[in-house]
Symmetry: C2
Subunit: 133 residues, 2 copies
DNA sequence: TATACTGTATATAATGATATGAACACTATA
DNA sequence: TATAGTGTTCATATCATTATATACAGTATA
């Protein structure tokens, strides 16, 4: 299976991270079903003209977040999204992402109430953008 | 004026960033009033046992965020928080901090609605923590 | 104007993140 | 069991960030 992935050397985001985000998106949008085998790290690195280490790093990060599963000698496979343990890992990641954003913003001189207003505005703006599509 | 600042070499946060956050906190909490002169970059670097470049970097970042003002030959001074231009810069920084957090979290497979719930939970938890103090 | 303070700029070292190739270990199967 | 496919580990190179010392430039004042 050949993945519709494109990476850019010019991007400020590291290559392994670009790969991660695109595979995540494919899984979350349902284009990659549970059980599907991903291309081998060698095949993918060949397609993207990067090192095996780079694709490996991307796969490893995705595994740590519960999106995929690697089995030595066999390959790498999409994991089912339903597993409670994985959903919990993911929710914890999101929770601490928000927590960090809020705590850092508090240092800019805003109260929690003010920050909530700004946060609501961002959500509203993003929702507006989604509806327009 | 001697600032109540402590930096740790063991921290994973860079020293210049530790200095930034602590000065920000002092300003935002009202312990450093507008017009107050900060210690010179040399005096501060001596107190913290770090290089002049490091304190300079912290001051420069704070200036870019509108918290302080430096005048060559004279020194560095706390800026008034009321200026509209500075408040706007600061709000933009907070806005994009949140936006980035939300967009990255969306890639974890959550809808905006779900993310809003998680975000609300974080705000509630933080508010609870503040009230307990 | 000499001096002793300010901040500024340049060149450089040290560290950590990113990316690499080559050798290693496991699995399936001809 | 030989081979060709998987993932894994190790040593290393490259690059950006962090941190440094030193020389430079502006300001106040004795």
């Amino acid at each position: 299976m050949k993945l519709p992935i494109v990476v850019s050397d010019d991007s400020k985001e590291p290559i392994y991270y670009q790969i991660e985000l695109q595979i995540k998106t494919l899984i979350v949008s349902g284009q990659l079903q549970a059980g599907t085998a991903l291309p081998s790290i060698r095949a993918l690195s060949h397609d993207l003209s990067c090192s095996v280490i780079t694709t490996r790093r991307a796969y490893q990060d995705l595994e740590n977040n519960g999106f995929i599963e690697t089995v030595q000698g066999k390959g790498t496979f999409i994991k089912a999204l339903e597993s409670n343990a994985q959903m919990q890992i993911r929710e914890e990641v999101v929770y601490s992402t928000f927590k960090k954003a809020i705590e850092e913003s508090k240092l800019m001189g805003y109260s929690l109430k003010q920050l909530r207003e700004i946060s609501d505005k961002v959500f509203d703006d993003l929702a507006k953008g989604e509806n327009q599509e």
